[in-house]
């Protein structure tokens, strides 16, 4: 920003360094190739490939997210996720058995009384979410310095669970304050080298921007068609609020994400799900016809209305394969629209102020293990 006109004598105050725009340079087609190949491998390996696919997706997204000319780097590996998953399973197995026995005792007193035990799993899930974030953070590197996290997974789980309770009591109205509080905990314990993170967003700000969505939700739930609208707008408002509250040291973040930015992505996703389901239905019909033909039945209504046909092997095998293939296809769409495109739109909306504070940050922090990711996977909350 140096200008050629010289203004002598008055030592110009250091000009405010301009905001730095975050860019996403990833090639959409190569990401599609990556997730399509990954889905095929997931199908062949009955899902085991997911650890490597998740890693490859993160590597792609991280490395093409460019801040001030430098791409971030994801240094996690699929093998770590696999080991984390196996260890988590070894720990979860006795937990599940204990859960089963406790549940038995509770149910004996009253049918379906094991609900309080579900609460325990909820707490455990929150723990897993925190620890999984910690793993991802310590695998995130920018300019040769990693992010890292302190804080306790159990303390976080306790807070998140208490907020969860309040959520039920207030019918979700408290959500902005819950988000702000949990985000404060996460960011205060997040570091980039020797810079400490913080979160200055408040629940009130979030509420001011999103309260009308809370009113719309019951209407949206009644008319299903409204749910994607409400959800997409909610996610966009939440992201913008979140980014604007982020601080790392004195580095400030800003996002002007349009509240409608995600709408198209959710609708594209829904459209593809509907379209691909239209393929699945004839596939089931074909499977049923083949199953009937194999067992030598007449292809009439009587055969097709017999439930036994649909629990017979000649039907179940192609149906399960078709269903699995369909699920993999849905995963491809989801990863393309709701992971990659959503990521692109989100990060490209970010501007960073005062990045010079991060120009000479001393490296610090230890790597965390992938156990949290393993728990999250085992508990089916494996987020991105």
């Amino acid at each position: 920003m140096n200008q050629m006109t010289s203004v002598p004598l008055t030592p110009a105050p250091p000009p405010p360094t301009p905001a730095v725009k975050v860019a996403f340079t990833g090639d959409r087609r190569s990401f599609l190739g990556l997730v399509a190949r990954g889905a095929g491998l997931e199908m062949i390996t009955a899902g085991f490939y997911r650890f490597w696919l998740t890693t490859d997706m993160r590597r792609h997204l991280w490395s093409h997210t460019v801040v001030d000319g430098d791409g971030a780097e994801y240094t996690g590996r699929g093998r770590e996720l696999l080991i984390g998953f196996l260890v988590a399973m070894a720990i979860l197995l006795p937990v599940y058995i204990a859960y089963f026995i406790l549940g038995l005792e509770a149910e004996r007193l009253q049918a379906f009384a094991s609900f309080p035990l579900v609460a325990f799993l909820y707490v455990f899930t929150q723990f897993a979410i925190y620890r999984a974030r910690r793993y991802r953070m310590t695998r995130t590197v920018w300019r040769g310095v990693r992010f890292w996290m302190t804080g306790s997974g159990w303390k976080y789980a306790l807070q998140a669970s208490l907020w969860g309770l309040l959520m039920i009591l207030t019918l979700g109205l408290i959500l902005p304050w819950r988000d702000a509080s949990l985000e404060r905990y996460k960011m205060q314990h997040t570091h980039y080298g020797d810079l400490q993170g913080s979160f200055v967003g408040t629940g009130g700000e979030f509420f001011k921007k999103a309260w009308w969505l809370w009113l719309l939700t019951p209407i949206a739930v009644i008319f299903y068609i409204g749910i994607p609208f409400v959800y997409a707008i909610y996610k966009a408002i939440q992201f913008r609020w979140w980014v604007n509250g982020l601080r790392i040291g004195s580095v400030r973040f800003e996002s002007k994400l349009d509240p409608a930015a995600y709408l198209g992505l959710y609708w594209k996703m829904i459209g593809w799900v509907i379209l691909s389901s239209l393929v699945l239905v004839p596939w089931f019909a074909l499977s049923a016809a083949i199953a009937a033909a194999v067992s030598g039945e007449a292809l009439d209504m009587e055969t097709f209305s017999n439930v036994e046909l649909y629990v017979s092997i000649p039907f179940i095998v192609p149906a399960v394969i078709g269903y699995f293939g369909w699920a993999m296809l849905i995963n491809v769409f989801m990863r393309l629209y709701l992971v990659r495109d959503l990521w692109e739109r989100s990060v490209a909306s970010i501007r960073i102020h005062g990045l010079e504070a991060a120009a000479n940050v001393a490296a610090k922090g230890e790597l965390a293990n992938a156990l949290g990711e393993g728990f999250a996977d085992g508990l089916d909350v494996g987020g991105f």
């Binding site: 491998l41 997931e42 062949i44 390996t45 009955a46 899902g47 085991f48 490939y49 997911r50 490597w52 991280w62 093409h64 460019v66 430098d70 791409g71 780097e73 994801y74 998953f85 399973m89 197995l93 599940y96 038995l104 005792e105 149910e107 004996r108 049918a111 379906f112 920018w142 300019r143 040769g144 310095v145 990693r146 080298g193 067992s295 030598g296 039945e297 036994e308 046909l309 629990v311 017979s312 092997i313 000649p314 179940i316 149906a319 269903y323 699995f324 369909w326 849905i330 995963n331 989801m334 120009a359 000479n360 940050v361 001393a362 490296a363 996977d377 085992g378 089916d380 909350v381 494996g382």
Partner: protein
Amino acid sequence: MSDPGSIVPDAAPIDAAAPTRAPVTFLDGASSRRRDVSLRLNEACEILEGDAVIASWPYADIRRADGPAGQLRAMCVSAPLLARLEIREPALAAELEHRCPSLDAHLPGSRGVLVIVGWSVAALVSIVLMVLFVVPLAADRLTPLIPYAVEKRIGEVADKQVKVIFDGKQCENPAGRAAFVKLVEMLRQAGDVDATADAEVISNQIANAIALPGGKIYVFEGLLARAENVDELAGVIAHELGHVKNRDGLRNLIYNGGTSFLIGLLFGDVTGSSAIIFASREMFQASHSRDAERSADATTIAVMRKLGRSPKPMGEFLLRVTGKEKGKGLALISSHPLSEDRLARMSQQDAAPTAPPLLSASEWAALKAICKSPAKS
């Protein structure tokens, strides 16, 4: 300082000794400071800041790190973990790539993927074999080890849930109930089943009967309504008593739990995995439970013969309830043996009754009306 202005032919190696002034950035892994450096490609890749060599990376230790398109980002396994070299000049990047034999050695290449696929298939085969052979064996061996008191508790849980699911009331018509208790007691003693067995009629239109862990047997009103004589119903109750005697309910529970866990392990959070787990479990379970059904049928045959009655009516009753099953490709998936085969087996054991009917005509009539409220007389 810069490269000699001459145009270097493609094939000619870049003068390795001359410090390259291409834009190269070095991150030392200790701080986020970007250091403008130059490279000297000698026996090792020397990194110079000004004229000072600040690091020297052996070519064999250099690996590719992820970076945005248009640059080579390199790291070194013998340098600090996060030290990085960013090379933006294509020719220099190509030259360095050419010199580093193990640049991509750390990433799973196509061979690495094959290894992953190989191990996954091995795990898949192992889990299928476990489900087919080890889990049933474990269920068989574990079942006798579990005390009746525990089974009874499990049964109480199942009992509460069944009542909720089938939304039925116990049928309490006194005359019908007396006949029902008499019939069950007769069958129980003939089958040598201990007193934990306990049967009820539930007012629900399903044509079925079930035995829960812990010895509870439910006969649904729908089945009772379709029975034409005492022997038909007695055969079914004897069959369920056979399940109780063999502790099949508990065995199934162990088997199902083990199978669900193993299959769940495989699929993790792949979309729609619960549906797949359910379908595969049903399939595995079917083959497992057919043996249990045959064994329970054997109890029916033994009990009915001991009481001087024929088991054949039960076979006919089953066929009437299920309809023809043969030739529908169901043999593999059905959880029960085909009704035709069961009838054939019962028919082999057919003999003229040597004892009077198990219930009198009036008792049978009362039993049929067990779910009606007592007639006011």
